[in-house]
Assembly symmetry: C2
């Protein structure tokens, strides 16, 4: 598992670096950015990690450039990993034809349908291969991991957590897609990736997974999800896009109020200027679960 | 002077907006971004302003997206204005042919040579027209202004301040081009914009202006410039690019140690991940000169 350094620069006393590596899971070259705090860079100290999953149309750069998360992460000694949101350069035209399916639309699932099932295995990539790559090559302790994401990446963070409840110390999301099996985006992508059987779609849907696991008593009791959602988000106002209200209803039905903190933020939209406004709260949320203390780190 | 709102979103309790307007100075449509803090947006309170000038290859978006300046500015109630770095769409091919001359290369001066002298009047635009536009249309008190910039924008901030010492309360720069009349970039742009007379070039050069004004005792005594410069900046290592050492020599010769704080930052490069690491220090520097106090502003 070779890792190739594409670029690196100093950032908040640590480093922000871009790497590529051959992905056996996705059968293509994958790219990610990683922020390593000072202790990791200077002393090779193994540090905990927060995975930051991007939304539709994003790649590994959006969250790392626009969210402003490294400032607070540097003070906690927390690494940030920004994966690309899909496989790339897989050699068939359909992958670049639709913003909701293909490039930048990995949906953090394993596709079962051709031609997607060869490369679109973002679930296994995020859950298995990427942590192995990080643990093998970088001063990152993947046994101390948390996960967050934006929009499609919020869907990714939540579904990946629900299926791997012991693997992540904490979860958060900005403006997540919560009910893709009935949403515009899911209806565009899931038939292509997963086929027409809607029962299968529910395996990749926060609302449906939460409903099932909660009924089956297969939910960790001690987790806490922080979700920020702008009330000025155009996708909140359209029906069956984000479906935030479906989650709120389900939480009440299932008595999950202690596990979920959902904050409506007045007037904010779906973009990164919203994320950067509240990102420190999310870093604090994860740092608490990872048992990290704020420190005055020289730059 | 019509102002057209292109886009706006909520950001740190205030707003980040993009505007266009017809520019009489530059004879084209100009674009800028502006961050207005909460008090300006919600109560129409007139707030002080920090101009943030971009470098070569930038437009109004780079500093506003990448520097992370709005977080701290929101706590001081400080507006941030991010002008474009040159005229646009002027209709002659040469303007797009060279990254050092033309689009994104305004150099914050008034060109005297054809074809540039019709549009390339960025000095008058920043010093005169843009403040008038802001004061006429937005809750900004342009009598309380400070100025900063990156690279070519650092050159702009410093030369504009030196020629208008009463107009700006404070000045700072990241990785500024300090001696363009002998630098690679100046040698590329100044003959085109200003002709071959090198005595004219010195009117647009921080080192040369400072040398002259200091000798002539035409310097305000109470100003303080903060400059951050990364030691890993590739342009610091090449001769006659930034010429930081020329400024340090001049400061010693002219006894200007009280007016200039130049910080070499170990290992940082020329990019925005460097700027975002230190931007809060610059906002603090300007807030002190503008007599602003940190406040806990709800988002």
């Amino acid at each position: 598992m070779a890792l190739t350094l594409v670029s690196t620069c100093k950032h908040f006393g640590g480093s922000l670096s871009k790497y590529t590596h051959p992905s056996a899971t996705n059968q293509c070259t994958m790219t990610f950015n990683v922020f390593l705090p000072k202790a990791a860079v200077e002393n090779n100290t193994k540090v905990p990690v927060l995975y930051c999953l991007g939304g539709l149309t994003s790649n590994e750069d959006n969250f790392s450039i626009k969210a402003g998360a490294a400032s607070r992460a540097s003070q906690y000694g927390l690494a940030l990993v920004f994966p690309d949101s899909s496989p790339r350069d897989v050699g068939f035209a359909e992958a670049g034809a639709d913003p909701n399916v293909g490039y930048s639309a990995g949906f953090y699932l394993n596709a079962t349908q051709a031609p997607w099932n060869k490369n679109w295995n973002m679930y296994d990539y995020i859950v298995k291969e990427l942590p192995q790559v990080l643990a093998s090559h970088l001063p990152i302790d993947t046994s101390r991991s948390s996960i967050t994401g934006h929009s499609m990446g919020g869907h990714g963070a939540l579904t990946i957590f629900l299926k791997n409840q012991s693997a992540y110390k904490s979860i958060s999301a900005f403006s997540p897609i919560l009910h893709p099996s009935i949403s515009y985006w899911g209806l565009a992508a899931f038939p292509k990736y997963l086929g027409e059987d809607r029962a299968v779609w529910k395996e990749h849907d926060t609302i449906e997974l939460l409903k099932r696991y909660s009924s089956e008593k297969n939910l960790r009791q001690d987790f806490k999800v922080l979700i920020d959602q702008g009330t000025g988000d155009q996708f909140l106002q359209e029906p069956d896009r984000l479906n935030t209200s479906d989650l709120i209803t389900l939480i009440k039905e299932q008595g999950l109020e202690n596990q979920f903190e959902i904050r409506y933020q007045d007037g904010y939209d779906h973009g990164y200027f919203f994320i950067s406004t509240f990102v420190n709260d999310h870093i604090d949320h994860h740092a608490k679960a990872l048992d990290l203390a704020l420190q005055d780190v020289s730059r």
